[in-house]
Symmetry: D2
Subunit: 396 residues, 4 copies
């Protein structure tokens, strides 16, 4: 196994040096006053990244999947109806999780390449005159298809009919790399993990909880202990934690939010836009297209690339790993074999992105794709050169 | 915050240098073949530490609390009756968790300082002729009181009446530092965490699951997704993981089991016995006693020390942290203020233990305890000198 | 400062993860038996890399400059005549060092872009019938110009006239990345540093010393203590070191030689040839040429690239650092402003090299060079694709 | 090899966590502007630790021995007369180094346990009416005997006769842990290393150079290149370095001086006094004595302990390493076998010191010494308790 090359999977992402060191901590007594010096700044920083002043932040030693589970278990009861769309592997999995916890999921099927179907959501909410729908679920960034949905529009659909349902949003592969406005969008539970935009190893489920969601915990009957919001918040209030926290990861999180805020969220988002746009220019230069069905859906954190008929996209991933020591993402579920994915979220520079594009070109050439070596690289270079300061993260 | 001194909390424990480095990994594609090279040896090693050949090992990115939750959610249904004893804070918390998940817990109250009340268990099982009790819970090592219970005797009580209940054991603060015989004791679910005997940071719930427990998952109705045994085992079978694993911690776990097995489990257990006995000799030299009510209950991983009437044991912990930069454990729950705890599990040497004992003496003297400086140290030194090779972990 | 991108300076080179960890050691008593377990394998491995069985290895906590000083101070006396060529900044500096130590240097001036002038050496040695020349100096790889000289031919020139002079070779930027045959080439003192082919941080001067050179120490009158070969070898014989060694770097060196030998020296050299050839293909695709005056002089560890008239090559380096966060090497001395340098020695993959080439293209385009974006990348990709397994270091 | 226990050798010392991380750096282009951001604060901090505003700081990638060599080679010429005392192994070695570099050393023999013989120095200087003595050498802290000499008195002896000789002082095992006043004491060259009071790994020779010493470089004829002060200072002036610097160690040095200055030099010195005094109380409790012949000579950085007749002190060191995994220092030269040494300089806490004292007691008991276990520990505990805040380094 070689660690000389960056990874281009859509998470876990490349970990900056300072975050590596922040996570790698000797044992600290988490019941001492020192713990708070780590935890409080981490929480304060996460609030800024989520753009919320009114929500509470709850952080579990778990994964994004645990965050999904926490979102529903703390706010809903068995048999509750929730509205969700299936348009990729991760929205599918959240639906599956809901069903396994006994929720009644009203599933709207959408294309794998489409965004959250706002019109269909609007209709469902309009039709739900007796407010059976207790929660609306949305996947901000479908990691499987590289589709970023418009969360504000879903909120508008709720507001249009004054629907009281909770609004639960999966921001796992968006938060920290693209804009997320918890308060402005009226998100009730926002879920993410440590290993994406926060540039940390996997191991933290980071959850924003609105006051409305907190109120819902009073009546929510789904069982939870490990994932209980109130146990967490009660402990936090005294500088504690209800069980043993992952102190090193929390210390890394405090460092990560510092890095993001020092670079400036707008600068971070602009960087991810620039890098992603370069990748897309490369894709078009190759004569291919993103899996996302229209430009306004293009994700700035991961690009799923449709390969020409007759080719198995998974072979690109296998060959790139074996021959060039580079990790891309395979297609999942409905788009397995049809797409491969270049992850460009988290800690990524233009130069790193170019090395990924160049490797994809070699791998495709090796597999007989009708590709001109250097064509995608040139398109990306051209874009990067003319679109502002490409220097690596200022704060690293 | 200073990291020059060791910690003496009963977990998280001191992390050896090589484990620190094993955990501190660059990002690795967990869908690549490399992941298996880390995961498989970790699982194989855990089996050896648990002394099981027939059980499956499931590892969650969570804490010991998550392991408890996994143990019940995968094997039981709402309303199921379980038998448990409350004799310390951690057995108490597991009971609480069960109740919050809708189980009907038959609680046997025991003294905080007593072990699992085997006779009471035996009676309850004998009385349960129609086998309403679906699971028996036992806390191998009560971290709050420093009490190690005899798990084999609980199994005997089950066997004596041929009771079919599952046997779920919390080995969080025992496994890896004292003997645990999953197969011989007929344990159906064994729960531990990474941050105790395995000498890792917190972040992994490590669970041994017997074939009988696996069979129980077929009918268990408690909801679970994040903590689902079968999702895990199905993924493992193909070298995968159902969501993003904590790769660095797993790599550290592979290293930790190597260290334990290279030192030799018997040698590890003997080392912990020697260190613990030295601490106890010190306690007696101070004219005090362990919280554990009889010698056969003395824990080799943590010693809770009863302080004389009129003193508040918590002040020792506060003063030791503030004045000497040393972390001990406070008393919890019923024994709050009455005991302080010296954790000596995980990565610990005789020399480290002596520094803890010496510090406790200074702190007690500072607080006006009738203590002779050096008395406990001398008692421990005497024991350490005459009881074999005290060299630090061979394999570090 | 960002550490996300690789460096392309011709040393210090990129440090592999495992070497980082090997160097980062807690304090170890260097007078204990443990030291030898680190030092002996390091020495044994260095011998293999130098391809010597008869020489001694001496390792100073110093830099390559210190190695040069050790080479002459241990073997020569004030006023001794030495033969040397100046054909780049580093051969120049060694001459300067000799002169400052009172040696009488017969300097042969050669072009900056030429190799060691073997014919001129042969003539000088032929003319030196009374053997006034006590040592012949040669720079294997001139880091300033990217020129690799033929050391075997210099040996032949010595042998042709049976000249008894010592043969001192600077292998600082060659050893470990290209072939070096200390015994076969009759090298008496071979000098390198830790921060080049050995992929370590700077801080070790690594010196191979032939038995003939050792014999010369008996009469050598130049003063030395810190750099004394015999003090070193006398201490090594008992597992010691004459003063405090840089234990962490030595531990890293032991790891580095393991990595090189596990990958296989031939494979390492082939990798560096492949990477370098790709860089050169890029240079030609840009319509430029290496500084090295003929193909047999092309260095596989660093390429100095002549830029077109009217451009200042140093600006490429400045802009690449500032705009793209990439470090190239500037031209030094006579070729300042005329060349920039891409270092590709040490820990380098094809993918990393492509990112350097792509960055150079962007920087040149930014500065108005008549360059086609992607042209160099395509030429390198084409070469890398068709020339064997490009996977990153196997052993990392 | 185990790294769980601290080391008690008188250097290299225990490395604090933050310094470990500061030293462990990815490759940085030392010709970039980033280098200055590391180097300049390191130099500025060293000046404060040396208490000099007028001297220059020169830092070599070498050891303390290299610092000695630099001190004489830059300021003296072959045949120059220097005044020195031999009262331990390290003063002996510096004399040896001078002699090997062709200096005429007027050696004053003193007891191994005595300090610099100020009266004998004064007489020699008084007698030297024609100022043949070009330099006076003094070893501030004799690491071999645990003797701290009064450097101010040596300056007074020079001033008393208006002697123009340079004043060269070895502060290797004193600087950073005990007071050193370069300007007030009129020291012309002060020498130390990274691995003692600066708490770093070995690898830097840190040298303070007065303007008078710098002026002496103009006429000094001893040869030097690697160790040339002027090459260094000329490079520093433009943010450079004359060859490849040890960037990681310099980054660690910048961190180390920050730590020392944040703790406060007076607090650091008080801490070392307290720790050392505790060790001495232990020694007296054992019925033994320090090697230093009188209390005003007692070193606060290392205690050499005379063992009773009939015992070989080296066996304590061997047994402590083998049985308890603790490193002490052996006696060297004239006091070999007669003393063992407990190093307590650098990063050390009261608690760590107690663990060393406790281990020495066990080792001596194991060897049949007439020692009461716990006696030394109790004496040290008593002193530590009553002498102020023993908390570990505030700034770590």
């Amino acid at each position: 196994m070689s660690f000389q090359n960056p990874v281009f999977i859509p998470g876990p992402t490349n970990i900056p040096e300072v975050i590596r060191k922040a996570c790698d901590m000797p044992t600290l007594d988490h019941r001492s006053a020192e713990f708070r010096k780590i935890f409080d700044p981490a929480v304060a920083g996460v609030k800024k990244v989520l753009k919320t002043t009114s929500a509470e932040i709850v952080i579990f030693p778990a994964s994004g999947t645990g965050g999904w589970e926490a979102a529903i278990c703390n706010t809903l009861s068995p048999g509750d109806k929730v509205l969700a769309a299936r348009h990729g592997m991760f929205s599918h999995r959240w639906i599956d999780l809901c069903q396994r916890h006994g929720l009644d999921v009203q599933v709207i099927e959408a294309g794998w390449g489409d965004g959250v179907p706002v019109d269909a959501y609007a209709k469902a909410l309009r039709d739900d005159t007796d407010h059976k729908i207790k929660a609306v679920l949305a996947t901000h960034n479908e990691t499987a298809t590289g589709v970023l949905s418009d969360i504000a529009q879903v909120r508008k659909a709720l507001d249009a009919v004054n629907h009281p349902a909770l609004f639960l949003v999966d921001g796992v592969s968006s938060i920290g790399s693209v804009d997320f406005q918890m308060d402005a969008w009226g998100v009730d539970v926002a879920v993410t993990g440590s290993q994406k935009g926060f540039m940390l190893p996997a191991g933290l489920a980071i959850v924003g909880v609105s006051q409305k969601a907190l109120a819902a915990t009073e009546t929510a009957q789904l069982s939870r202990t490990f994932f209980d919001f109130n146990d967490m918040l009660k402990s936090y209030a005294t500088g504690g934690y209800p069980y043993t926290p992952a102190v090193g990861l929390l210390n890394g999180l405090a460092t990560a939010v510092d890095m993001l805020l020092e670079e400036g969220l707008d600068t971070v988002f602009a960087r991810h836009h620039r890098i992603a746009e370069g990748v897309r220019r490369a894709v078009f230069a190759w004569g291919m297209t993103p899996c996302a069905n229209s430009p306004e859906l293009y994700s700035n954190t991961v690009t799923a690339i449709r390969v020409p008929e007759g080719f198995n996209a998974t072979e690109i991933v296998t060959l790139a790993a074996k021959t060039y020591g580079i990790a891309f993402g395979v297609g999942l579920g409905e788009v397995a074999g049809k797409v491969f994915r270049i992850g460009h979220l988290g800690s990524m520079t233009d130069v790193m992105a170019l090395s990924g594009i160049a490797t994809a070109e070699m791998a495709m050439a090796d597999l007989g794709y009708p590709i001109t070596l250097g064509s995608g690289v040139a398109a990306a270079q051209d874009y990067y050169r003319s679109h502002g300061n490409a220097t690596a993260l200022a704060a690293e």
